[in-house]
Symmetry: C2
């Protein structure tokens, strides 16, 4: 389903064994899942983003909350700043102190974290979801499954098909079955 | 926002340096994002799942498509089978051959992969999305942003609040600001 015949990333970032496979060269067809995972495809990075969403912004707080080694946290934050998902903001003059804030690009990962959370809720929360996410205005739990806007219904994985989009180098419009 | 005051996982799996932090003990409050990432929180695992969704089911095909070392692929597939996201199915008698298929639990990660793909589409697909995901019945591109079913509108990250759910050990109903 995802990324049709497309298998690798168009991102040009450094090779780093911590992040799994190196991105392919620019001649490879693009895949937006791989592109995303090139930036946030490791557990620490996603947990740091989760904490920033939760309002944990300072290095020491992040370190304490996650139980992560200083050098790993420094590395992951540096990467997130470098890729524009997080910015380092001075919050105090004397002594100078900084904290980390999500940019618009970082905050835009909210739906992905929400979907990962929904899966954990469904498969590992025997006592029910530990946390509910609600719309601030009305308090209604938000809908986390993909929907068809035309049919106004949740679309199960077996009913999703992929086709080449505007950015695809693939000329034909072959539909790939998700099942 | 996500997981409110909750910081760690209730999963009991082995410690493995490849997968980042070890899950906390059973006395720690649960977090469904951490629970999910304990199982699928590495780039190879998510790329293997993507390929299984795409219809790549055999070891050799997965290896060739991903450019992954045999031992890493074996390890990740074993883990996915162990956690019930993937099953190993015999497809040939002589010689005996197996392939890997998503279970219902594995297929249920579809919304998470779709959300990760949507982020890559928005931030890294300069020429437009390489792939479009559509409803099989009507061909309409599916909606990938969280919606409020009561207000029938997409809810931006800044308008999502969290509150303790049925499975939360936290008694109070303090609302945590997502911004």
């Amino acid at each position: 389903m995802h990324c049709g015949q497309l298998t690798s990333s168009q991102l040009q970032i450094e090779t780093d064994p911590d992040y799994g496979p190196a991105p392919m060269g620019p001649s490879e067809p693009p895949c937006s899942i791989a592109a995303t995972l090139d930036v946030v495809g490791d557990r620490w990075t996603l947990l740091i983003l989760r904490d920033l969403f939760r309002g944990v912004h300072r290095f020491g707080e992040l370190q304490g909350d996650l139980g992560i080694a200083r050098n790993l946290l420094t590395d992951r934050l540096h990467r997130l700043v470098e890729h524009g998902l997080v910015e380092r903001v001075q919050y105090q003059d004397r002594p100078v102190r900084h904290e980390y804030r999500l940019t618009g690009k970082g905050a835009d990962l909210s739906p992905a974290l929400i979907s990962l959370m929904a899966w954990g809720d469904r498969w590992y929360a025997d006592a029910g979801p530990p946390v509910e996410l609600v719309h601030d205005r009305c308090g209604t739990p938000i809908e986390r499954q993909p929907k068809c806007p035309a049919c106004d219904e949740v679309v199960a994985p077996g009913h999703i098909r992929s086709r080449p989009g505007p950015g695809s180098p693939v000329a034909n419009l072959e539909i790939v079955d998700a099942s």
